[in-house]
Subunit: 396 residues, 2 copies
């Protein structure tokens, strides 16, 4: 057999695995260190009451012959959940058909698997820095990748360049790691560029629930015509704390086609062949997120995390460290103090303050000199981490 | 963008989707018809009591901050489940390391996704007939496929041919759809052939729990040296009725390498990039399968299905229809009576007896003239279906 040679072109370990190993090694060497983890964007609040009740009910159904559910009738997901998501979109003024929504086990899976639909000979355009799987997924497949710098100069929101042609472009807004969020007006320019280039936009909206500022987009479909050029990938991980419960969804509009072939049909074919759907129990839990009571509980959780962001921001303000994010996003993106490099600051912060964050360089070369902190931690621990961060930086 | 042109080379609809649509159309046209479905291999018994209790406990944990679980610590799966699977293997005399076991959301996903590890330029060897995704997965990727006929002459168990070279070979035992099961002695020949050809065997053991005959293999690793050339894919769908709960596992031995690269490492890299693991709740449910009480409950369910197979077999015996399977397998593979073709028999049986099965031709050209019935139905309905089948065939 011949192995896929492109695996040798990606770094051997995934960013968050590397961090996990580094922290584990430090903890092993310093068993008494009270480490606070604000690195990986993992949530800490329990699932909402409505979700827990729905999960219990679904488990109970699976235990009785009359209500037991076998194979999911469609790999695309149960109607009840796709209808609930349709309603959620309608709530912010976006019309999406239930036949355009595909339930997945998470955004990460779909962001990778969706590439099965494309030839290897496509050029991919990726922001730098950004969530690292966009790059790894495409390096693994052997596609040519172009980067667009996201820097303080463009407010970490790269705009289309008419001189650049690409076939597949990733946009992540609110952005991971920078927290920068495109306005609808900015996305209009991306849609126009995509149409001109016959390109497809893979729009990662995993953090849309954090958007509060008017004018900022929660969905790329707020832009007229976006359905002809964009796929939107979303997740229950952040809105509802499903990082360990695993559910997401991908919107593939019927209007999105190339040379007369609808991508919706191709994706359906891919999923019916290589996927068997998301557990019935989990789909019932996800459905509960969109009930009136579920949404109320979820908003309380989001406010809890927003408050964490404010606590971290206040500490950085106090010691004069530049940062952005934390407004439409659960991430604070800060410039490493004293001109430190990302991984140096990572080590320094771990050793000095026992606080774990994510080195900006791990998200791409333009992230060098920056650092990401997450607001998904426990409130008390976040306060303590902010205090330690502040005190440590004061000593520099 | 350029689409993956190979999608146009596979049939537009997946076999079981086609059957689903045909049956739905017939039911719509004949709303009073009491259709019994023995087509798709879906289970009908509820989850075992031990599993339900474990699921409830895990849901409860997710509802409290102290016991809540976020991202799965390793995409490979929780230690507790990998250790339970290791114990299950040990129970039939096979030693597997926990670092060799990867928890998945089902065999179908892994059978497709594992191909990411291989170059397009590999020749794939596939039995004919067989579970259709092996072929579709590889057509989609543009690989060359060779078929090995599984016929009544070779007892539906094709053996290696020294004149044939291939790089990737799929074996499914107990076989879907024929129920034919390799002995350890037969698999020894496959292992020897694979080593000679530097080929990898993708061994689909999804039905291993039905094996009862001495000498028949439950795992390819019962063959000495198989760890150097075989990956084994397994599932909770059939052993524990997880078709709608979604969990499986894939064993990638440390000893399996090509040109010095371990496939275990590549698969870990693929999974950490494109997958986020199986829900904590589901992993706890799966763990309960392997407890003493869980295994006792599971065996009762398997016996229930085995009895269904015996009921169908007895009906076929009575009317002199040739069949195999149903012994180490939940599938009965019968020769269509009166020389009917597979899809003709499908239509005839649906119209005459309101019984749904799966046309053998749907599993490959060598399945033409054959038909698959599943033993996973409700016992009363299976009895009724067997009665109708018998009466209908008598009229021919």
């Amino acid at each position: 057999m011949q192995l896929n040679k492109h695996f040798s072109e990606i770094s051997e370990s995934y960013l968050f695995s590397t961090i996990g190993h580094k922290v584990a090694a430090y903890q092993a060497a310093n068993p008494d260190a009270d480490i606070i983890r604000l690195g990986i964007g993992d949530v800490t609040l329990p699932l909402a009451k409505s979700v827990i009740e729905a999960l219990h009910r679904a488990v109970e159904e699976m235990g009785h012959k009359e209500t037991f559910r076998g194979y999911i009738p469609s790999e695309q997901g149960y109607d009840f959940l796709r209808e609930a998501i349709q309603g959620y979109y309608a709530g912010h003024g976006v019309a999406v058909g239930t036949d355009e929504i595909f339930i997945s086990d998470g955004a990460k899976s779909d962001l990778g698997n969706f590439l099965d639909l494309f030839d290897v000979n496509n050029t991919v355009l990726v922001p730098n820095p950004v969530y690292p799987v966009y790059v790894d997924d495409n390096v693994m497949a052997g596609r040519k990748i172009l980067y667009m710098p996201a820097t303080a100069e463009n407010a970490f929101l790269p705009m289309p360049d008419d001189a650049v042609h690409a076939d597949i472009v990733y946009l992540c807004s609110p952005n991971n790691p920078t927290g920068a969020t495109y306005t609808v007006a900015q996305l209009e320019k991306w849609v126009a560029w995509a149409k001109k280039n016959q390109a497809v936009i893979l729009f990662d909206a995993a953090y849309e629930c954090f958007v509060t500022e008017p004018g900022c987009a929660r969905s790329i479909y707020e832009v007229p015509g976006a359905k002809e050029c964009a796929v939107e990938v979303c997740s229950f991980s952040k809105i509802a704390g499903f990082t360990g419960t695993r559910c997401g969804y991908t919107v593939v509009p019927q209007a999105l086609a190339q040379d007369g072939t609808q991508l919706n049909k191709l994706w359906m074919r891919r999923q019916t062949t290589k996927f068997n759907g998301v557990p019935y129990i989990v789909q019932r839990g996800a459905e509960a997120v969109f009930t009136t009571e579920g949404m109320r509980e979820i908003q309380q959780n989001l406010d809890y995390y927003r408050n964490n962001a404010a606590v971290i921001a206040a500490a950085l303000d106090e010691v004069g460290v530049w940062y952005c994010g934390g407004k439409n996003s659960p991430y604070i993106w800060l410039r490493c103090p004293a001109g430190m490099k990302s991984w140096d600051f990572f080590d320094w912060l771990l050793e000095t303050a026992h606080v774990v964050g994510t080195p900006g360089e791990g998200f791409g070369s333009c992230g060098e000199g920056y650092f990401r902190l997450t607001a998904f931690g426990d409130a008390e621990k976040t306060k303590e981490a902010a205090r330690r961060l502040k005190e440590a930086i004061k000593t520099l």
